[in-house]
């Protein structure tokens, strides 16, 4: 019962985040880029409910718009990584041979790096920017999906329903798309949920290090980095983007955990 409540709370939080990101122009009380140097580092007020930063920009508006960047990066990274990972994993698992060997060695090499290190190194050489962040995160992200899909396909491809399809003369592409991938959707959905959380944290880390979105675009990570310099005088600068980031990742982890538990119970 408690798990169910947490699951629905997590889903509600994610819907809220998605809605606030989509409706940011309507919800944000101010332009997130508008500077008022005479209103720098203000505390709470009716005009600026969460205060202002060092350049007098409204923190509430920047936090709402920051959610857009996090969600956009996370969703783009997950979708692109999923597409590459599913394609590579399916081909590797179904066809086997030299292609399997080649793809899996590539996965081994990329997984030999701690993910965030490779992302930092790549964005360091490519330069900051949202496209580079997504590119770097996808380069690491697809490997997990490829390994998962390959493993599942190896165990599924000898099952009766696949052999029957093969016996009826179905082409490999038809078998992969119509018979194998639909069976992989539940584990892929779980991995994608955790992947989304990981991508959002990674984007935050890169922006925190100044390698993510370029200023003045608001991002939770860059807001935390900016606020770090004013911990002593204005701790609220780091509080709200931090809370937003934590609750988003928490909601995704709760949803992912619950889906995983349900899948395991179904398998048992």
């Amino acid at each position: 019962m408690a798990t169910k409540v947490w699951f629905y709370a997590g889903v509600a939080l994610l819907i809220l985040l998605a809605a606030s990101s989509l409706l940011a122009p309507l919800l944000a009380p101010h332009d997130p880029l508008h500077q008022s140097l005479d209103k720098d580092l203000l505390g709470y007020s009716s005009d600026h409910p969460l205060g202002t930063d060092k350049l007098g920009r409204d923190i509430l508006s920047r936090t709402i718009y920051g959610g857009r960047i996090s969600l956009l990066t996370g969703i783009a990274t997950v979708l692109i990584s999923l597409a590459i990972g599913v394609a590579a994993g399916s081909l590797s698992g179904y066809l086997g041979g030299w292609l399997d060997l080649l793809l899996m060695r590539l996965v081994d090499i990329l997984m030999a790096f701690p993910g965030i290190l490779l992302a930092i190194a790549l964005t360091a050489v490519l330069g900051p920017g949202l496209n580079h962040v997504i590119l770097a995160l996808c380069l690491i992200g697809w490997t997990g999906y490829a390994r998962l899909v390959r493993g599942e396909i190896l165990s599924l491809r000898e099952r009766e329903f696949v052999q029957a399809a093969r016996g009826l003369g179905a082409a490999p592409r038809r078998i992969i798309f119509l018979h194998l991938i639909p069976n992989l959707l539940p584990p892929l959905l779980i991995q994608a949920t955790f992947g989304l959380a990981a991508a959002i944290v990674a984007e935050g880390s890169l922006s925190f290090l100044g390698l993510g979105v370029e200023p003045p675009t608001p991002s939770w990570g860059s807001m935390l980095n900016d606020g770090r310099q004013f911990l002593l005088v204005a701790p609220h600068l780091t509080t709200y983007p931090g809370l937003a980031l934590m609750f988003t990742v928490l909601a995704l982890n709760i949803v992912g955990d619950t889906l995983q538990e349900r899948l395991q119970t179904r398998i048992r």
């Binding site: 790096f113 701690p114 965030i116 330069g127 290090l209 934590m246």
Partner: protein, 307 residues
């Protein structure tokens, strides 16, 4: 065992070579002229040419790659662009600080997770169990680049219990070690709890109880000992992750280790130094994973990995 070691070594070589090659390629991914990016547009043509020659960029890519591998085998990672020292010398000076922080983070993770994970398994379904799982979920959801500043506000600024940043005595270590170790503690609580619950139902545990052994002895000698295997593996694997996590934690707390060095090298566009740092962290990560596999086999000879 010999065959297992040989097989793992054979798998290690292409992985390491791949990682090294990827690090080599990194510097060539810089858009435009890498030399201009490193020195800036105001550098003179002579300076640019000198750097191009010293980095070997005037030679064909295959020749550069061969030299890179030969130099690497000789322990030469080149020179820093801005510091009057070799990359190896700079990294060697910073590595002890990172290792110290990573070990302390690991100890912090153990001190938190072992009592919590064990109590959660003993009192399964109780409030302790639920609290442990909530802690684990929170620990996994708290990014260290927010946790660090948060701890700093509370313990350094408001309470004044710990120094704000820098490296010094034990008090300097507490906040960075906790920040870096919390994620690991969160994972360990889950793994330890799950492993203990799996072992607890085994026949040999029931037998130990049936023959009248004290409950504490049953837990220490039979349950904990057998549950340790997966915990040790996760700990070793996570240790590699701690080295990568040090990039953020060291930056927050101005800890003078290899993580902060990497970030500083990125900011100053000292790419030979960035390349060296990434290589050292990635190689350590691969080697720690390799040693974990060997330890796993030593602890549990039933593991075969298909050999």
């Amino acid at each position: 065992m010999k065959q297992f070691l040989l097989r793992r070594l054979l798998l290690l070589v292409p992985t390491l070579l791949g990682a090294v090659s990827l690090v080599f390629v990194l510097i060539h991914l810089i858009p435009g002229d890498p030399v201009e990016v490193m020195l800036g547009e105001t550098a003179t043509a002579a300076d640019k040419e000198a750097l191009r020659q010293s980095l070997g960029f005037d030679r064909p890519l295959a020749t550069q790659y061969r030299s890179f591998l030969i130099n690497l085998a000789a322990g030469d990672l080149g020179r820093s662009l801005y510091e009057p020292a070799t990359v190896v010398q700079i990294i060697r000076a910073r590595l002890p600080a990172t290792l110290q922080l990573a070990f302390c983070a690991m100890i912090a993770a153990i001190l938190i997770s072992f009592p919590l994970g064990t109590m959660a398994a003993i009192r399964r379904g109780s409030w302790i169990d639920r609290s442990a799982l909530t802690f684990s979920l929170l620990g996994l959801s708290l990014p260290n680049f927010w946790l660090g500043p948060l701890l700093m506000i509370v313990f350094s600024i408001h309470l004044g219990w710990t120094p704000v940043s820098g490296r010094g005595g034990l008090s300097h270590l507490i906040l960075p070690a906790f920040t870096l170790g919390l994620g690991m503690a969160a994972i360990l609580v889950r793994i330890l709890r799950a492993s203990l619950l799996q072992v607890i139902d085994q026949d040999y545990v029931q037998t130990a109880r049936a023959k009248g052994l004290q409950e504490s002895r049953v837990w220490l000698k039979h349950v904990l000992r057998n549950a340790m295997l997966s915990v040790i593996t996760i700990m070793s694997l996570q240790f590699g992750g701690l080295l990568a996590g040090s990039l953020i934690t060291e930056t927050i707390f101005s800890w003078p280790g290899i993580g902060r060095l990497t970030v500083q090298a990125i900011q100053t566009r000292d790419y030979p130094l960035v390349q060296g740092c990434v290589l050292v962290i990635a190689t350590s990560y691969v080697l720690v994973n390799f040693i974990t596999d060997l330890l796993y086999k030593l602890v549990d000879p039933r593991i075969s990995y298909g050999d």
